[in-house]
Symmetry: D2
């Protein structure tokens, strides 16, 4: 329970439909797990094609799922016709992203009419053990009335 009340009762279907249009999510193999008001979780299985030079998840790939998790966490609270745009994000790499699976969690901290602020966290799971491998914050913008450009 996140405490946020979505403006659009159809937020989950709308979020899943937009996620399905992100070509990169299918390409890397990311899946949309939890979709709640103000909270989204994305999972990603490791494969060597996602690695940096030491064989762990690349920081950019962790950032890719974290950015989408935060973006869609904000999106769940938007009115039905609005699109979402990442204004900026920052991410700390807390530990080597060494795991069989990565999980990204985006959570809304402040939901405004124009701007939304989220926290981003990522975890890796290896042999049943979960490590907090990244944390950060993100600013999103709500875009209204620019259908076709942002949804």
């Amino acid at each position: 329970m996140t405490g946020f009340v979505p403006a659009d009762a159809g937020f989950e279907a709308r979020t899943r439909a937009s996620f399905a249009r992100q070509g990169v999510m299918a390409f890397i193999g990311a899946t949309l797990e939890r979709v709640e008001p103000g909270l989204v979780e994305i999972a990603l299985a490791f494969k060597p094609e996602l690695s940096q030079q030491h064989g762990f998840f690349h920081a950019g790939i962790i950032s890719t799922i974290a950015d989408s998790a935060g973006g869609y966490a904000g999106f769940t609270l938007f009115p039905p016709e609005a699109g979402v745009l990442t204004v900026e994000f920052k991410i700390h790499l807390l530990a080597a992203a060494d795991g069989e699976q990565a999980i990204a969690l985006g959570r809304v901290v402040r939901s405004g009419r124009t701007l939304t602020v989220c926290t981003l966290d990522a975890y890796v799971e290896k042999a049943g053990r979960r490590t907090h491998c990244a944390t950060g914050t993100q600013t999103l913008m709500t875009l209204v009335g620019r259908a076709g450009v942002r949804d």
Copy 2:
């Protein structure tokens, strides 16, 4: 000419070898263009597999090449036995990453014994016109004597 003097004359070969070990670079199709002391440029052709929901480059993919560009810009100045670790980065998405190709440029601002600070910039090119689509900053850490974990 960047004004930095590399500690290792073989910095370019060392940087190219490490880049070649990043599985994700081959997977997305990124190529290492410029490798100079304290400056690295990476190019990436667009394909639908790299897109967000509007068909442009996903912010995370732009971040992936920007993070590697900055990381390797720092790496060019490291001693031969040292590895590089991204501590954190922040990126602003200045414009839609709508282009046939993206270019990421990492440049060292401050090169310290333990920490290095870089600026990250990304551009998209479309029909011969270049747009500055992202800018940010990054902290890197030099890792010495942990061969096998970080190189």
Copy 3:
């Protein structure tokens, strides 16, 4: 209870002594409230000398107490001879800092040998109501053996 075990049993006295040497804290009127392992709280009463152009706390002043709160949160976990240095921080201004008092809370997320990552939060209190006015993250560095330069 923060769950962190300090390396130095005298962490509180050491933290309070360092805080007392920050000239700016006395100048603006900030006081050190909670000092726990990995957590520090600083309070600051409003005065017009701390304002931006609309009469609220200036974002830089909120950042000043937030940076010190995070820095000292990390410092509580350092060995006795070590100094603390802020590597970087980022702060989101979530709401106008309109209040009679501001509270900054720094909390350690990851405590490493060389680097520590904290979250920073600030609140304003007005007529008995507390508003979350800022949130962010910070990287700190532990400095050992450079007495006189950093403590």
Copy 4:
């Protein structure tokens, strides 16, 4: 010459008037030096009241003048009736802020209708030598039609 064309020919007087309303600037002793389209410079003489525990400028004070320099750099390009709000900023502390004077420079990178992105840089001067002590980036928001709240 910054290349930006201000929307309001009276940008300099408007910027100086707003700066004069920031109580904290007079309190710490900061002065508005350059005011150009998209670029603002602020100077601040050292005094012990601005110090951290080692006697240098506190990172929060450097951030205070950097935040105002960026905020007013954006403000120079705003329409006459608009106010400015800092959405977020990030700052790297590149070197000890050990000097007789600090200089903060804010520069607009992207000027949009709603959001503006700036770079922030700070320098300290000591015995005639200038050191680049901080760098960062900032997001600003243009506020229109909320007179009395933001100007």
